[in-house]
């Protein structure tokens, strides 16, 4: 199992001149430490207008800063909103190629379509067509990265033959992923040979079923890229403390802050009746956890909050249900002081990671 970081870059009010800079600086320091400690990847989302929840509209810039100050950690640009009003596909191909070059071939590309009215209406995008535009974009991207000349005539965009440069550094191209919040999207990922970048928390039993179906479907896929990225990633909170009770309590404060902010988002489905957004994604779960019976000080099922032993047990369960990677949210609204976040990372690397290094070595040996 591989471990990574996952950034929404939440900035609490009141917003001062320095508050956003502090959040970015803290995140960069965390990434540098994570690189030294052996974390495998850092992901940054693309969100717009999501007050306090995410001040991360230009993840490629943040990730470039990450890449320039680290040596090994991979940089996950995701999700890139594959809706023409947000991002032109040529620009996606170009900027991801540059990031792959600058990072020395450490890029991972996550794709998605946005789920909030706040963002889609802000860009004047049509919620009814985002799934179709996403599908078109993910089929074009690998070709734009790899073909010397590229021309395209599609429903959402077209271009005459041009040489899209530069080309990605990795060969044949960076691994591609799909953001998965709503049940069923993991099958869209599987059918296209894309990795499942899960953005939901907890609940082993449900995830196990979904992962099993993903694994079955991806065996039958028609890949959109030049290789199949048969990997399942999930997101989790991380707060690791020597004292289990302290770790759970502090971690839960962070998780509750995140859930409360997320529950303020105006989903498409809340305001716009459309079959293209059949579920509320992770919002109902987060709302329950923000105010419901799960909102106590105890860590919920599968959350990496508490002492090293508890976290190791939770992550072993994730490994057993078939998760390949776990990406951690380290903070929300800066409720955990930076020094404690860094210490949590160090403790996790010292006490938890070795348990998974052994598994990795054993798996390699068996192969």
């Amino acid at each position: 199992m591989k471990f990574g970081l996952f950034y929404e870059l939440s900035v609490p009010r009141p917003w001062t001149r320095e508050s956003e800079r502090t959040v970015y600086d803290n995140a960069l320091a965390q990434v540098r430490l994570a690189d030294e400690l052996g974390f495998d990847q850092v992901w940054a989302v693309e969100h717009h207008f999501l007050e306090e929840y995410s001040h991360c509209p230009a993840p490629e810039l943040f990730l470039t800063a990450c890449a320039m100050t680290t040596a090994r950690i991979r940089v996950g640009h995701g999700i890139i909103v594959c809706v023409p009003e947000f991002n032109h596909p040529i620009k996606i191909a170009e900027r991801t190629a540059v990031l792959d070059i600058l990072s020395g071939g450490r890029l991972e590309v996550g794709t998605g379509r946005s789920a909030t009215w706040t963002e889609l209406a802000g860009f004047g995008a049509d919620p009814d067509s985002t799934k179709k535009s996403w599908d078109e974009f993910v089929r074009c991207l690998p070709r734009m990265w790899t073909q010397e000349k590229y021309a395209y005539d599609g429903e959402f965009w077209s271009m005459p033959s041009r040489t899209i440069i530069p080309k990605v550094y990795q060969r044949p191209h960076p691994p591609m992923w799909v953001a998965v919040t709503s049940p069923g999207t993991e099958l869209d990922a599987a059918d296209r040979g894309l990795g499942s970048l899960g953005l939901t928390f907890g609940q082993f039993a449900e995830q196990e079923k979904r992962i099993a179906e993903y694994r079955r479907r991806i065996q039958l896929c028609t890949p959109v890229g030049e290789f199949v990225n048969d990997q399942v990633s999930t997101v989790n909170f991380l707060y690791c403390h020597e004292d289990d009770a302290t770790g759970q309590k502090r971690g839960r404060q962070m998780a509750n802050a995140f859930n409360y902010l997320a529950s303020q988002l105006s989903s498409v489905r809340e305001v716009y009746p459309a079959k293209s957004y059949p579920s509320l994604g992770l919002l109902p779960q987060l709302r329950r956890q923000a105010t419901g019976p799960d909102a106590g000080e105890q860590a919920g099922e599968g959350l990496a909050l508490g002492g090293p032993e508890r976290i190791t047990r939770a992550l072993k369960r994730w490994e057993a249900v078939g998760v390949d990677r776990v990406n951690f949210l380290l903070n929300a609204m800066e409720v955990i002081p930076q020094a404690e976040v860094l210490e949590s990372l160090r403790l996790f690397a010292r006490e938890v990671m070795p348990a998974f290094a052994e598994t990795k070595a054993a798996t390699a040996g068996a192969a």
Partner: protein, 249 residues
């Protein structure tokens, strides 16, 4: 933390509905027709939202006009203007103004669920290319709203957000302004969506002088079995609902 509403209670306290008690019986309301329009509104609407609630991002309002062909008090119609927000983590529509079409409905809605209902005339008309609602009070039109170019959708595609009313309500030994959650159920028979068209909108008549419709969002029209349920939650109007909510049943 997210922003909170900024409603000053004193200027509106005198006109609040007064609940008899919190033991309201549920009403079953079959075959209701519901026209709902949603539109983004300006940030100044924070002044209309109770301090217990967070404004939606972006701020938006819904205009909801309903025909109830059957009810314990006979057929009636109800039109509401709701400012959408969050009660803690949950989306809720705070009822700014309401018009009911019969005196019995006005009385029942005020005394049982705390709606700020006043008597008026309400019409819902279906044309070949639109569903239109007209509301008048004291003979003066105060709302014209339409769903244009209806297309059939599944009822499962519609998410109706629960309401909260602000009313003077008894609870234990005290009687005070409280937020009352009204959370109906819906079983859909037919649903359509279309383009929202808001014509006449007399803002003061809906207790919303500072509410300006800005960016149209959606319109839906549905036929469904619904209810006005027993009251389950009341909330302190000044405290964040996460601290000030009391479960009644």
């Amino acid at each position: 933390m997210p922003l909170y509403g900024q409603l000053e209670l004193a200027p509106i306290a005198a006109r609040l509905a007064r609940l008899r008690d919190l033991d309201t019986e549920a009403w079953s309301l079959p075959r209701a027709e519901i026209l709902q329009l949603a539109c983004e509104v300006g940030d100044e609407t924070r002044d209309l939202l109770p301090r217990a609630m967070h404004p939606a991002v972006p701020p938006y309002a819904t205009w909801v006009v309903v025909s109830y062909p059957e009810s314990p008090i006979g057929p009636f119609k109800l039109a509401q203007l709701r400012l959408m927000g969050r009660a803690g983590a949950h989306p809720r529509g705070y009822v700014l103004g309401a018009i009911a079409s019969t005196p019995a409905a006005v009385t029942a809605l005020r005394e049982r669920w705390g709606f700020p209902a006043e008597l008026g005339a309400i019409a819902i008309r279906r044309y070949h290319d639109r569903v239109m609602a007209e509301v008048a009070r004291e003979g003066q039109p105060i709302l014209e709203a339409a769903l244009v170019d209806p297309e059939l959708i599944s009822g499962a595609d519609i998410q109706y957000i629960h309401s909260v009313t602000l009313a003077t309500a008894p609870d234990g030994e005290s009687t005070a302004p409280r937020l009352v959650q009204v959370d109906p159920h819906y079983v859909f028979h037919k649903a359509e969506r279309g383009r929202p068209a808001l014509g006449r909108f007399d803002r003061p008549a809906w207790n919303a002088a500072c509410l300006s419709p800005l960016h149209p969002m959606s319109a839906s029209f549905a036929t469904c079995d619904t209810d006005l349920p027993r009251i389950r939650f009341v909330m302190d109007v000044e405290l964040p609902v996460i601290q000030g909510t009391r479960r009644i049943r």
